[in-house]
């Protein structure tokens, strides 16, 4: 039977369906996050008064605590607070900034409890760093990992294969903060090849941008490149034993074409999926890297937010990260539908 897709634009329906699902997913995620950060501590015995007094200086009077409670809207019931939060994201919100009402345009993730600044712009200002970090590292690990993986697969059992797979395993087994600190200690202080790991915007000085980020890139990429080398190797070994590779050879194609056009092309498809997921999940890696290298990105922002127990910030960054993950998954799925003609839903 021919299995031609009957729907006119399967990819488009698919994307629309996934987008709607994504919105639902994010709402559920936000609800759970909200519940966990606002509800769970209360179940564990925290009072709103205690919460409010966290954001006061040294000697809070009850009156001051009450003022803060009101100011942060902590006195409202939780569902109301959640509704306010959602509305802010969609419609924006007006906040009392003191002299006047400040408008926080959508997506408004509320105001930081700690420094009373809107959360969204602070997160946005951290984005370039995290994106630079992620993008550079991703390119590094993708290119490096795939290249090593392909060579290892083709030279299966050779010294190169064993060695690179050993290194790969080491990469996966070493905590990122450990490698990061050692790299920093060696290449930034002891032999200052990459001194001053510090973020310089790309637009300001691309060369300095790259130079300053080399160390974090390598450290972050080391963890992932290892994984990708292993995945590529396994994928290549599998595809190279597929029947269609035999067909390609039977056609008399040069080995290079067989490997890259036929073998790698197919082996890369699952890697695309994992790559997308990893990009989405990169905040985790970014936290450790940014803390280790003091890069002012989302990761460091997150840690700060958590240290300050700044709930709107925590909520915002959790949601933003969830958003990245979900979007990355969506992109991966769409990409998959584009890359692999068999996937049509």
């Amino acid at each position: 039977m021919t299995a031609r897709a009957p729907a006119p634009h399967p990819v488009i329906t698919f994307i629309v369906r996934r987008l709607i699902a994504t919105v639902f997913l994010l709402i559920v995620v936000s609800m759970i996050t909200f519940a966990i950060f606002f509800l769970l501590p209360r179940l564990a015995g925290q009072t709103t008064r205690g919460l409010a007094s966290q954001y006061i200086g040294r000697n809070p009077t009850p009156a001051a605590v009450h003022a803060i409670e009101q100011q942060l809207g902590l006195d409202a019931p939780l569902p109301v607070q959640y509704g306010r939060f959602l509305r802010g994201i969609v419609l924006g919100e007006h906040f009392n900034a003191g002299t006047s009402k400040a408008y926080c345009p959508p997506p408004c993730f509320g105001y930081s409890f700690k420094n009373q600044q809107p959360v969204w712009p602070m997160m946005v200002s951290g984005l370039p760093v995290t994106i630079s970090l992620a993008a550079g590292a991703a390119i590094l690990w993708l290119v490096g990992g795939v290249a090593i993986g392909v060579i290892s697969a083709l030279r299966r059992g050779t010294l190169f294969d064993r060695f690179s797979m050993g290194v790969a395993l080491a990469g996966v087994s070493l905590p990122i903060f450990f490698t990061g600190l050692i790299a920093l200690e060696l290449f930034s202080y002891k032999w200052p090849i990459f001194p001053n790991v510090q973020f310089v915007p790309f637009t300001q000085n691309p060369l300095l941008w790259a130079r300053n980020l080399v160390l974090p890139w390598i450290v972050l990429a080391f963890l992932y490149a290892a994984l990708y080398a292993r995945l590529t190797r396994a994928g290549m070994l599998e595809t190279m034993s597929e029947d269609y590779i035999r067909t390609a050879r039977a056609k008399g194609l040069p080995e290079r074409t067989v490997i890259f056009k036929h073998g790698l092309r197919a082996a890369l498809t699952p890697i695309v999926t994992i790559f997308g997921m990893d990009i989405g999940l990169l905040l985790g890696g970014a936290i450790l890297t940014e803390v280790t290298f003091s890069l002012h990105g989302l990761g460091l922002f997150t840690v700060e937010a958590i240290q300050n127990q700044d709930l709107p910030e925590i909520l915002g960054v959790t949601l933003l990260a969830a958003f990245f993950i979900v979007i990355a998954n969506l992109v991966v799925d769409v990409l998959y539908a584009v890359v692999d003609p068999r996937v049509r839903r």
Partner: protein, 352 residues
């Protein structure tokens, strides 16, 4: 074989309730196809089995042939109630089992058993042969005089396996041996009806015959009734008393084996038979020659939207307007031979 097949009439009338062990009328299975952005709605259905009638007398074998995707397996799974029929009726020993619940069906499972096509996937690789063959006994809580182990070993012996293989795992056996294990499991509950779904098509030629012989011997010995599903016309001829030919979810021809193979009536059956390669080279002047055969063009259409009226008309060389507009009923042209065709073949032959 002399017992004539008791074929069900269009209205489902049969000679007598006691005649048929299994009687199927208007059996239909549609698999819904859903689509939708948020809420999935039904947009169509795969008409895997559509209005199928037949019956099988005790001790007899009904062969079910047809091309891939015509609904043979689905029919088999409906008979054993692994699938819920969309419509129609299945009578087993005069009892309506069409919509029996899983719980009510459970005791009946002793009587209706299935042999599966793939000897590799039909045995759980993590269970021992003893566990596999003994499972029906344990599940149905059958009391055995000598205990389960002895019973299982007897069964193994019955299907020609070494009883000492009790504690071995399926992967230690060849395909033919595995199929025997599957058969032993089927026999454990002493069923009356066995539905065998392509029991030999996964086996090597040299092994096929072993299993076919085994099935025949068991039938003779235990008085089993078979519904054998196969796509190999020669195997079906060898094993069946009656043969039903399916095309796109429908039975197009149903007759006694000899009748059918001697003089097929439905053009599809004719084409099917002529397509079977024969291990006898045709030579003229020492040069090989092509065997004359009826060539069917194209592929089987999709059961998602099968052609209207006679489903075969798109590939039939005899098709006329009526074939496109009117569905031919499965009528009994001559006794014991039913055909669903407006222009049946070999009518002269039957007139003899």
């Amino acid at each position: 074989m002399s017992t004539p097949v008791s074929t069900a009439g269009t209205a489902g009338a049969i000679g007598g309730a006691g005649d048929a062990l299994l009687e199927v009328t208007g059996l239909t299975k549609h698999f819904p196809i859903t689509r939708g952005i948020i809420f999935r709605q039904k947009v169509g259905a795969v008409q895997a089995v559509d209005q199928v009638d037949f019956s099988v007398a005790p001790g007899q074998t009904l062969g079910l042939v047809g091309e891939s995707g015509c609904g043979k397996t689905t029919t088999g799974r409906l008979l054993t109630r692994l699938l819920e029929p969309t419509g129609g009726r299945i009578m087993f020993e005069g009892r309506d089992i069409t919509h029996l619940s899983m719980g009510k069906m459970r005791p009946l499972r002793r009587d209706i058993q299935m042999i599966f096509q793939d000897p590799y996937s039909s045995l759980n690789p993590r269970h021992t042969v003893g566990g596999i063959v003994g499972a029906p006994l344990r599940l149905q809580k059958v009391k055995t005089e000598k205990g389960i182990k002895a019973t299982v070993q007897e069964l193994l012996e019955l299907v020609g396996l070494n009883p000492e293989h009790y504690n071995r795992y399926p992967h230690e056996f060849s395909g033919g041996q595995r199929q025997r294990i599957g058969i032993a499991r089927t026999l454990a509950l002493r069923p009356k009806l066995i539905v065998a779904d392509e029991p030999v098509s996964a086996l090597d030629v040299s092994i096929q015959a072993q299993v076919i012989n085994l099935l025949e011997d068991l039938q003779n010995e235990l008085g089993l009734t078979y519904v054998v599903i196969a796509h190999d016309l020669s195997v079906v001829r060898h094993i069946s008393d009656h043969v039903a030919v399916m095309y796109l979810g429908k039975i197009v021809e149903l007759a006694g084996r000899d009748q059918l193979y001697a003089a097929p009536r439905h053009p599809y059956t004719v084409a099917l038979m002529s397509a079977v390669p024969v291990p006898a080279p045709v030579r003229v002047d020492g040069r090989r020659q092509r065997r004359e055969r009826i060539r069917l063009s194209g592929d089987v259409p999709s059961p998602l939207n099968p052609p209207p009226a006679c489903r075969f008309h798109t590939r039939c060389w005899k098709a006329q307007e009526v074939c496109r507009t009117q569905e031919p009923p499965l009528t009994e042209l001559i006794p014991g031979h039913r055909v669903a065709c407006h222009f049946p073949e070999n009518t002269a032959a039957s007139a003899e």
